[in-house]
């Protein structure tokens, strides 16, 4: 008997939960084998530390600080990336000029720019946000450019048959066609931001999850590091899922049936 979608979903969810439980069990076991508990905190002690930090209010401050930097860097980088991508996709001259740089910088991680950022922009918020903008703009630009190119010649010809001016072609055909590509670029960029935030928060901040992770080194509080790691990972996952959920309706029409 073929299983229904609900049954399949239930089995999937159970498998997911089982897998997570297994990892936690492995973690617990691994940490219990550590010669010095300090070196490898158990899941339980990590959870306890997290709750303590939360009660102190520190955890909330750190989470908000990191998310704030990511949000600002992401919005600025995405806006710039979309504009750049549209221009590169629409005008051959622009593309020829910018393409080598976009490719070059996209491959170069923000981490490499930390010393330069520190010297040029100091250790305040600007340097961290600049790194996040950097890690966002090129991947969004590239995906947007590809999106503009995805518009077929016949789609534009058809629009012209219906009396579209160049501006109408842009607004009614090219822009909507590009949206799913923009969103893909933005989703990738968001992942980059979460990877980069830790490096960015090497630049002597006073708060943030990256700061939390690194501060553990100073006082040998490995639990702090683990709290930071787990929360950062969870946040990254949640934001990514939220992004996917929000864009699913828009992207779904493009998925082949």
């Amino acid at each position: 008997m073929k299983s229904t979608l609900t049954q399949q979903r239930r089995v999937g969810a159970m498998g997911y939960a089982l897998s997570v439980a297994m990892i936690l069990a492995l973690w617990q076991y691994g940490s219990s084998q550590a010669i010095i508990p300090l070196l490898f905190p158990s899941p339980l002690s990590t959870l306890r530390t997290a709750m303590r930090l939360f009660d102190e209010g520190r955890l909330t401050i750190d989470v908000i600080a990191s998310l704030r930097r990511i949000a600002i860097g992401f919005v600025i980088g995405s806006s710039a990336g979309i504009v750049l991508g549209v221009l590169m996709g629409s005008f051959r001259a622009v593309r020829i000029v910018f393409d080598p740089y976009v490719q070059f910088f996209r491959a170069l991680p923000a981490l490499a720019w930390i010393p330069a950022a520190m010297v040029w922009l100091g250790t305040g918020e600007e340097s961290k946000i600049a790194l996040l903008v950097y890690t966002t703009v090129f991947v969004v630009a590239l995906n947007t450019m590809i999106g503009v190119g995805s518009v077929s010649a016949n789609q534009i010809r058809a629009a012209r048959c219906f009396g579209c001016s160049s501006w109408q072609v842009f607004l009614m055909v090219e822009a909507p066609a590009t949206v799913p590509f923009m969103l893909t670029g933005m989703r990738l960029a968001m992942g980059n931001c979460f990877s980069t935030i830790v490096a960015a928060e090497l630049l002597a901040p006073k708060n943030g999850l990256g700061y939390l992770i690194f501060s553990a080194r100073t006082w040998m509080q490995t639990e702090f590091a683990f709290v930071g790691i787990v929360i950062l990972g969870l946040l990254g996952m949640i934001v990514d899922r939220a992004f996917l959920f929000a864009t699913r309706r828009l992207l779904q029409r493009f998925l082949p049936r």
Partner: protein
């Protein structure tokens, strides 16, 4: 299947096409695609342009549509010179990639009306009428990605009909469909063209299709530097049966003409080697 005529919006204007001494090429040093093409399509006629692959049939359509400019000669549509794409000549492409994947069937069909600034209620009414005519009623909320090849071509057709353009330019619209669907759509197109009396320029390489659909068939020479070899009137009463004797006789005649062309082209290539 009963076809309801599309509601009329005023008199159907002149849909005649005149192609005079048209040549087209991609520049010096490259062989010309078309050389002195001349033919006329009176308003309301179903004209089929038939020819072997690569003879430039699609180029003729692109020139009439206004997507390209001829290097020589003139093209008139509705008595006016063709200056570029315009809403009196709507194209239906072979590959339905001209549909907009992010819009539903209904929104694809109302797109031309939105461009023209038609009010919402009238837009929806005209779109639904067009969808009924092409047999897509009930599928308005689907996306092109969910449609079969035949349904996508019907959507293109509905979209083309909704602006009441006097001229329909169809570039091998059924070539990419399976034989079954192709046959069904051919029959429906015949019924439709009888009811709507638009001017249709239909490109195909399929002789049977040409005889089934066309009032007249223009046979093109093999490329490069192609032109019209001859024009044959299809004097068979409608509905036409693919199996009838007259159909077969006409098929033979046209097939002979095209084979001559293909032979000539091969001989020409041989002589160049």
């Amino acid at each position: 299947m009963a076809i309801e005529p599309l509601p009329r919006h005023g008199d159907v204007p002149d849909g005649s096409i005149a192609v005079r001494d048209v040549s087209f090429g991609f520049g010096a040093g490259r062989p010309s695609v078309l050389d002195d093409v001349t033919f006329d399509v009176p308003s309301g006629e179903f004209f089929v342009l038939l020819g072997p692959s690569g003879c430039g049939k699609s180029t003729v359509l692109n020139l009439i549509a206004g997507f390209e400019q001829p290097t020589q000669g003139t093209i008139l549509a509705g008595g006016r010179a063709v200056m570029g794409a315009a809403r009196d000549r709507v194209v239906i492409f072979q590959d339905s990639d001209s549909l907009y994947g992010w819009l539903t069937v209904r929104d694809n069909v109302t797109f031309p009306l939105r461009v023209q600034g038609v009010a919402t209620r009238e837009r929806d009414e005209r779109a639904l009428a067009a969808l009924r005519v092409v047999g897509l009623k009930g599928h308005e909320d689907k996306y092109p990605g969910e449609l079969s090849g035949g349904m996508k071509q019907r959507t293109q057709l509905a979209r083309a009909l909704v602006l009441d353009a006097p001229i329909l330019l169809m570039d091998e619209p059924f070539a990419a469909l399976d034989a079954q669907t192709r046959s069904i759509l051919q029959d429906e197109l015949v019924q439709l063209s009888v009811t709507l009396r638009r001017t249709v320029l239909f490109i195909t390489h399929d002789i049977g299709e040409a005889i089934l659909l066309g009032d007249r068939v223009g046979i093109m020479r093999a490329g490069p530097g192609s032109s019209i070899k001859e024009t044959i009137v299809v004097d068979l009463p409608r509905p036409r049966r693919r199996g009838s004797t007259e159909f077969g006789a006409l098929y033979e005649r046209i097939h002979q003409s095209i084979s001559e062309e293909v032979q000539r082209a091969l001989r020409r290539e041989d002589s160049l080697l």
